[in-house]
């Protein structure tokens, strides 16, 4: 390796010579006091004209700039339209995460407790938002598009603990129709005993 380094040829043309690109000093005498004062006055004129031009600051909490459509902000865990969670607890997001801020603990789905359509679901899903660098690799890695990055960026909070986003915080709400159905079936429990659903009398 050292050999290769020494045999490397010198750069054929240096990017810039010692005085190259520097404007040549004007020939003859120094421009003089009048020119200097004119230069100073020119500077003062520039700043004064800027003074009367409108302010360009965006008044942040009231006004916000338009974000890019591809802006990566806070994460969400999505659901299917029927209310089931998309996440199948495969932990590919945690594996893809360059800072290791995702914790997934999976559990088996069962017929009594079906959370996701797959074999398994995420029992625990936590993201440490203090560590997260919002690279979006988790979104790329996810085979079922369960974890996505939303547009929200105002994530400040008052304690470090509050930055561990739990599954409850990340999970999308149920679609409203599913919510309504679940509420209705909770109010009117099925009259049929278990295992006999749909069996004609």
């Amino acid at each position: 390796m050292a050999d290769e380094k020494s045999s490397q040829p010198e750069h054929p043309t240096p990017l810039r010579g010692p005085r190259e690109g520097v404007p040549a000093k004007p020939e003859g005498k120094h421009p003089g006091v009048a020119a200097d004062v004119a230069a100073l006055a020119g500077g003062l004129k520039t700043t004064l004209s800027e003074f009367f031009r409108p302010v360009v600051t965006t008044m942040y909490p009231e006004d916000k700039t338009v974000r890019s459509e591809r802006y990566r902000g806070r994460h969400y865990l999505r659901r299917y339209d029927n209310g089931l969670e998309r996440c199948i607890g495969c932990e590919l997001c945690a594996a893809a995460c360059p800072v290791g801020c995702i914790l997934v603990i999976a559990a088996e789905n069962s017929d009594e407790n079906r959370v996701s359509p797959g074999e398994r679901y995420a029992k625990t899903y936590e993201i440490n938002m203090l560590r997260c660098i919002f690279c979006g690799y988790c979104e790329d890695a996810c085979p079922v598009q369960a974890i996505v990055l939303g547009p929200e960026y105002e994530l400040s909070d008052t304690s470090r603990e509050k930055f561990i986003y739990t599954k409850e915080k990340l999970l999308e709400p149920m679609p409203p129709d599913v919510e309504a159905r679940l509420r209705a079936s909770a109010a009117h429990p099925s009259p049929l005993p278990d295992g006999e659903r749909g069996t004609p009398k």
Binding site: G43, V55, V56
Partner: protein, 336 residues
């Protein structure tokens, strides 16, 4: 003003005046800081402070409370006594100048604490006390940046004090008095015109020298080498925080108002401005000068140290001396 001649009335007036002055100068300083931040912001097309109170006018109250409640920190291995004395000198010297500055309150009603016949000289004496504050503060901090800032400041103030003093000598030669009230009320009798005139018409070169030297004297941009943030962190201010920092800060802004008031008094006829009430006229003139200083700060980059010295010793000082000599010759020629 017969009250001033009565021995007891004099003390009453002076006591009230001192209390009032402390209040007015402190308030003015606070709003000068606000004015500077807003004006500098507008030059850079920012709004400046606009959150605390209407138009951010209470920003200084918020800053003051924050600074006052900071820990009064003194670094280890410093000379504690000198470290505390330095900001005290700065703020005391800054306030003292206002003892001899007269203010016209209304037509024919003026106010002053001490009507000294060497008023301008006293102001220069007080303003040069400021260099002690900076040098002592820089030395006591036990920090090389502070010391360098202090040394630079000493050199700068000594260099510019000469030009500053000499720039005003023609004014004194014309008026024949160092009393600020006499200078403001200097009247000319030119043909049909009898009345006060702004002395800048008679000593324009003196005004230009005064303007430059005053910026250097108050350590403001583009002559703010003692605290040059980029090279010296904060110069003599590096180790100061909390209330001690406030005192230096306060002193800087009081000095800024002082030199503005002095420029108005010495060159622009003080509180005389056409038919505008004196106190308002004086206020307008001071604000215009403050704006000029802020404008300079927003425009020019800091001078290199050798440029600063060259400007002081090779340009301003000879110019000031020439100005004195020429004024003398003209005075002798016209008045005999």
């Amino acid at each position: 003003m017969s009250l001033y001649n009565d021995p007891i009335g004099h003390w009453v007036v002076v006591t009230v005046a001192i209390a009032l002055l402390l209040f007015v100068v402190l308030t003015a300083t606070a709003y000068t800081v606000w004015f500077e931040r807003v004006a500098l912001g507008r030059i850079q097309r920012r709004p400046g402070p606009n959150r605390v109170g209407p138009f951010g006018l209470l920003q200084l109250a918020a800053d003051g409370i924050k600074l006052a409640f900071k820990e009064s920190f003194v670094p280890a291995e410093t000379d504690k006594l000198l470290f505390v004395i330095a900001p005290t000198i700065a703020v005391a010297a800054a306030f003292l100048s206002w003892a001899v500055i007269p203010i016209g309150l209304w037509y024919n009603v003026q106010y002053w604490i001490a009507d000294v016949n060497i008023g301008v000289l006293l102001i220069f004496a007080f303003s040069s006390l400021n260099v002690y504050a900076i040098v002592i503060g820089g030395y006591a901090s036990n920090n090389k940046y502070s010391l360098l800032g202090g040394l630079r400041s000493a050199a700068q103030l000594i260099s510019y004090e000469m030009a500053l003093g000499l720039s005003l000598v023609p004014t004194f030669m014309i008026v024949g008095s160092l009393r600020l009230r006499d200078i403001v009320e200097y009247t000319v009798h030119w043909g049909w015109y009898n009345g006060p005139i702004p002395l800048i018409l008679l000593t324009p070169i003196g005004f230009v020298i005064y303007l430059m030297a005053a910026v250097a004297e108050t350590n403001r941009a583009p002559f703010d080498l003692p605290e040059a943030e980029q090279e010296l962190i904060g110069g003599f201010l590096t180790e100061y925080s909390g209330l001690k920092f406030v005192m230096f800060y306060l002193a800087e802004y009081i000095n800024m108002i002082t030199v503005s008031a002095l420029a108005a008094l010495l060159f622009f006829g003080g509180w005389y401005l056409w038919v505008i009430p004196p106190v308002i006229a004086f206020f307008i003139k001071i604000v215009l000068f403050l704006f000029l200083y802020i404008w300079l700060r927003g425009t020019f980059p800091r001078l290199r140290y050798d440029m600063l010295m060259r400007l002081g010793w090779k340009v301003l000082l000879p110019l000031a001396i020439a100005n004195v000599i020429v004024t003398g010759i003209v005075l002798v020629a016209t008045q005999g």
